[in-house]
Amino acid sequence: MSAPWQGPPVLEAEGLSVTLDVPAGRLHAVSDIDLAVHAGETLCLVGESGCGKSMTALALMKLLPRRGKLAARRLTLEGRDLLPLGERAMNALRGERIGLISQDPMTALNPVYTIGNQLEEIHRRHRGGSRAAARERAEYLLSRVGIASPGMRLGQYPHQLSGGLRQRMLIAAALMCGPALLIADEPTTALDVTVQAEILRLFADLQREFRLALVLITHDLGVVARIGHQVAVMYGGRVVETGTVAEVFRAPHHPYTRGLMDCIPAPGARREARLGAIPGIVEPAIGERAGCGFRNRCVRAQPDCGVGDIHFRPLGTGHAYRCLLPPDAALARPRPVAEVPAS
């Protein structure tokens, strides 16, 4: 099922870590993760709030908050090493080769400028050229993201647009310079369910048309199933399971992934069947940590889980999970949390 992605990856990160010095100590927001995305491929980062998804997205653009520190063995975009680049060189890439679509379309547009103004500015910053050329590109992209009468929309202010329209504007803004990599941080979370589906379809269409490498951050496994190719499940700043979407959904191995899958309501399930839940809360990732970050919430935790580093167990075809349980044991038992029927 894994699509044959040709050529070198557009984005490659190895051993990417982000630490933040907070008053309570050193916060390990992202620990040693590896990512690779090819042109035309969608990589989904999945996990609950605070698992380091958004921090990973910012780290890929080297846009961390000032207290944040980035470390990586390797971070390349289209074969170019990003690690030694300074702020000026990164600015030349941001918006030009990498586009970011941030979480909340309601606040991601500057309220004092018209849509046209904001789109044209991005184009002129990177490409120079006339306002007319930038406007033409903006109009083309707006019609491309499904906006009727783009000419009129360009003259409007953000508050005059609905959430779905603003999200389309943001997508158009990110595409202004034809980037190779698009990072979308929860692009559908703030939208109505009906609009979500449209936006996801739009992403899939645009990706095919522009051969985009897409890093999609979400906590919604439904989104992953719809448009993802590769998925990396994150927990506590680490990737705990990774593989193709088909593989991971068919046979989730890590107890956390299995727990997440159980949280999805299945249409047609018996009314009395209880929806799964993962007990406990995410442990704060402050200070040095050993073992598996999920062990305090894991129904299958063993004493060994708290010792040393837990390594990935490869399953072939790129599918791997980070757990002490051997593959058959991970799959064999009934799913850990969702077996209790109500009354």
Partner: protein, 299 residues
Amino acid sequence: MTAVLDTAPAAVLAPTPRRVMLRRARSHVGLLVGGAVVLFVLLVALLAPWIAPYGPYQQDLLKRLADPVWAAGGSWAHPLGTDALGRDLLSRMIWGARISLTIAIVASVIAATIGTLIGLVGGYFGGRVDAVATWLINVKLALPIILIALAVIAIVSPSVTLLVLILGFLTWDRYALVTRSLTQQMKHREFVLAAEAAGASSLYVMLREILPNLRDQIIVLVTLEVAILILIEAALSFLGLGVPPPIPSWGSIIADGRGLMFYKPFLMVVPGLAIFVLVTAINLFGDGIRDVTAPEGRA
């Protein structure tokens, strides 16, 4: 390719902020009254050479201390009477409006520029840069304006330029405080991150993304500060340390009339009333702008 689902007719779209503001402005009494008075004084100041019946320095020693038109011996030749040197008070008031307003406005612009830049830089960069900005603000807050102004003017001979510079450099603290805290809130808004992610430089983000969003608040501050500066200028001129004589400013006209306070009270009452009315009007106007541009009304 993609289904077009954006079918909202233009008519049902939210009105532009400008239109909402105009609608609110039209029914705001304070804004209208204050604005009318401010506009009137501005026009008088601008048109001084054409509307003043006499020159501001023109003396007529035979007509010293003529009474204003409403008093028993008054005449329309000098509607507000004349001062101890026979200068027409109305003409001096008209020219004085020019001086007083120029000093207050130019000093406010200087102060607004300095304060806004310090506030923006401190608020946006945070950390050590902000520590320096905060330190500057604290140092400034510890300086007593009038005392410093007095000290400087006592050393250097007073002139209008000097007064403008001193006032400008001593009143930027409020702009810095307000801009700094607003910038701190603003920089966590998503559009700032979006701009950074689109390759905008720090300078661009500060001046083009954040600053325009602070415009309304800064305008309100400017109006309030202009009112305060008019009072400070009047106070300094009254103390004889403001504009040097014979230049008329409203404060120096009061100072000139001080000696005759009990015999010809109009020489102090007229400029005093003018200051009172103008400062009140500016405050009404500033409050009006604040009410009209208040963001909670924006859709």
